[in-house]
């Protein structure tokens, strides 16, 4: 089965958007929403950011050393895998990273808490360089169907781009399913959810390590804050917490203290970033 020629195209991302918008039968609301989305995404104060999720212990290490570590292959439990992952070597080769050790992976976000799976704290970077590479999905998806059913590498040029030139248009292409048949103006919350939702995200390949000074703020989700309060409330009511609950709370307290000491704001936001009542 052929993939969508509108999406999977050799044309630049901007051209793909323009081709779509100039097509027959495109609703006027699509045009209006496209303009609203572009305006929102490019807003320097509230617009797009690269985010990196990180769990508490790793975040404390980052704050202690000032150095963010990307992947490492030294397991801390168990023996070292005899061979590196063939899958990983393959994907990195397809992506064409000139010196992979210098690349740090993240996601694109517009106000949310990032990909919770990779850590409950979401580091928001102040900026990235214009030529920062982006990929429209998790690059490991290339090893999965339908890509793996054919020549997966051939899709890479169609799915990658650079931050300044392509980010808005790439995201617009991803948002188009949301815009079709929509007879009203889209809100930023819907845009935010569509950009990064659950396991779906746009991958950012930042070249060069970042440090504490590069962090605009750290975000966390209300769910974690609610759980924190729930454990303490149950304790006040006489239910002694388990040791894992205690360690979880203690680390969160330490993260809060260390972020304050480092002068990095910590905010609680809902996943779409619309929770302005939390702070």
């Amino acid at each position: 089965m052929a993939l969508s020629p509108h999406y999977f195209s050799d044309s630049a991302w901007q051209k793909r958007v323009e081709d779509y918008l100039s097509g027959d039968g495109v609703d006027p609301f699509v045009h209006a929403n496209y303009e609203a989305i572009t305006r929102s995404l490019l807003d320097p104060q509230t617009g797009l950011r690269m985010v990196v999720n990180i769990p508490a212990d790793a975040l404390l290490g980052f704050l202690r050393t000032g150095r963010y570590l990307n992947a490492y292959d030294e397991p801390v439990v168990g023996g070292k895998p005899r061979k590196p992952s063939e899958r990983r070597k393959l994907v990195d080769e397809w992506l064409g990273l000139d010196d992979p050790r210098d690349y740090f992976f993240g996601a694109v976000s517009i106000g949310g808490t990032g990909i919770r799976f990779y850590g409950e704290y979401c580091l928001v970077l102040k900026s990235v360089s214009d030529d920062t590479r982006i990929f429209d999905r998790n690059s490991y998806d290339l090893t999965q169907p339908p890509f793996s059913d054919g020549d997966a590498q051939s899709y890479v040029p169609m799915l990658r781009g650079e931050w300044k030139a392509d980010i808005v248009h790439m995201l617009t292409m991803k948002l188009l399913p949301e815009l079709r048949d929509r007879q009203w103006l889209i809100t930023l919350g819907s845009v935010s959810d569509a950009i990064l939702h659950d396991e779906e995200f746009v991958e950012v390949h930042r070249k060069g390590r970042f440090g504490i000074a590069d962090i605009e703020e750290v975000r966390q989700s209300p769910e974690d804050e609610a759980l924190h309060t729930n454990i303490l409330t149950r304790y006040e009511d006489g239910e002694a917490p388990s040791l894992e609950e205690m360690l979880w709370i203690a680390r969160r307290n330490l993260v809060r203290q260390q972020l304050a000491k480092a002068g990095v704001p910590l905010r609680v936001v809902v996943s779409s970033g619309r929770g302005n009542r939390w702070k």
Partner: protein, 351 residues
């Protein structure tokens, strides 16, 4: 639903943070299920795309869980076994979370002398039964038996032991108001463990207002549970390999390592565990701290708490057991940094 001809594997694991992706695979390696697990409960969250698990290798997750030779991935019969491994490694990584005195070794209270040993009996009072059961918990029944043994032993100690002045002195010397606290601690209790618990409350009275009226600390103990949960990881209690260990460190070791539990060979070795458990479970004791011994139900709860937190599910013969114990040994002998990624290990791809 777990299929009978499948096994579970760790796909990606942020060891010290307890986050992991686990997959259920058939004999031919086909992935039929992927879940995400995270502390503090490790409730499985279904993941639609295994590529999400692999992408974690680009973050702070190690790839898989291999045996010591690095030849084979360690297989698990059930998701519960993986959850126990994640839990134990996570708790073990709590060791050294808060270096004592914030300054690491030594702390600001001066040199900490080793905790006096040899007190608390000669192995009577059911200690041998406790020692035997501590490291053999695998199911609910063995946890109940351990809790019963701990309660029996504690009651025996409480009834027969006098508070050794050296212990009060030891604990008191850690604070800036040592003399006053030692004096007040001396009035507090006559029972060995209970008195030690009280004394330790006092030692960490940097949070107490001056003058340190005990009821104010007690009130804070009851009204600020978040502080209690953090403070337990700050309370210095012993020294190991030149490193000051806290009550939280010992609780973390007891909850994660059977080797640690097997090293408990005398009643005094149980002190950090009883102190920690009593400290946690006494938060709702409404007796003012100089008003008498701990309530029996608080003691019983502390014993049940200890029994509930020691390792279970995975036996010593499980392939995951040895690497876990090695992880803990490395951390305790070489320090918490030894089991965390280092700046020179930052390869984005395996080369």
């Amino acid at each position: 639903m777990e299929m009978s001809d499948t096994r579970w594997y760790v796909e990606s694991w942020s060891t010290t943070d307890g986050l992991a992706f686990a997959s259920e695979r058939t004999d031919d390696g086909t992935v039929v299920n992927v879940v995400f697990l995270a502390p503090p409960y490790w409730s499985p969250v279904a993941v639609a795309n295994v590529a999400t698990a692999w992408a974690a290798h680009r973050a702070s997750f190690q790839r898989g869980f291999f045996d010591a030779e690095g030849e084979n991935e360690i297989a698990f019969e059930s998701l519960s076994e993986i959850r126990e491994v994640l839990r134990r490694a996570y708790l073990a990584s709590g060791y050294g979370t808060f270096p004592s005195g914030e300054g690491g070794e030594g702390g600001e209270g001066g040199e900490i002398t080793p905790l006096p040993g040899g007190d608390g009996g000669d192995g009577g009072g059911g200690f041998n039964e406790v020692a035997e059961r501590l490291s053999l918990v695998v199911d609910a029944d063995s946890r109940h038996s351990l809790a019963d043994s701990l309660q029996t032993f504690y009651r025996h100690e409480a009834a027969n032991s006098e508070m050794p002045p050296t212990l009060v002195h030891y604990l008191s010397s850690q604070s800036q108001q040592a003399a006053r606290r030692a004096e007040m601690g001396g009035k507090a209790e006559r029972h060995f463990f209970a008195a030690l618990t009280r004394a330790s409350f006092y030692v960490f009275g940097d949070y107490i207002y001056d003058p340190p009226y005990p009821w104010r600390w007690w009130a804070m103990h009851r009204t600020n549970p978040s502080s209690i949960l953090t403070m337990i990881f700050r309370m210095p209690i012993r020294r190991h390999n030149g490193r000051v260990e806290t009550l939280g460190d010992h609780l973390a070791l007891a909850a994660s390592s059977r080797e640690y539990l097997r090293s408990i060979r005398r009643p005094a070795d149980l002190l950090p565990l009883f102190l920690g458990a009593l400290f946690i479970c006494a938060a709702n004791d409404d007796v003012s701290w100089h008003g008498g011994p701990l309530r029996p139900d608080v003691v019983d709860e502390a014993c049940r708490w200890l029994a509930a937190n020691v390792p279970g599910v995975i036996g010593d013969d499980h392939p995951a057991s040895a690497p876990l114990e090695q992880f803990i040994t490395t951390m305790r002998d070489e320090g918490p940094a030894a089991v965390r990624p280092r700046a020179d290990l930052h390869t984005a791809v395996a080369t």
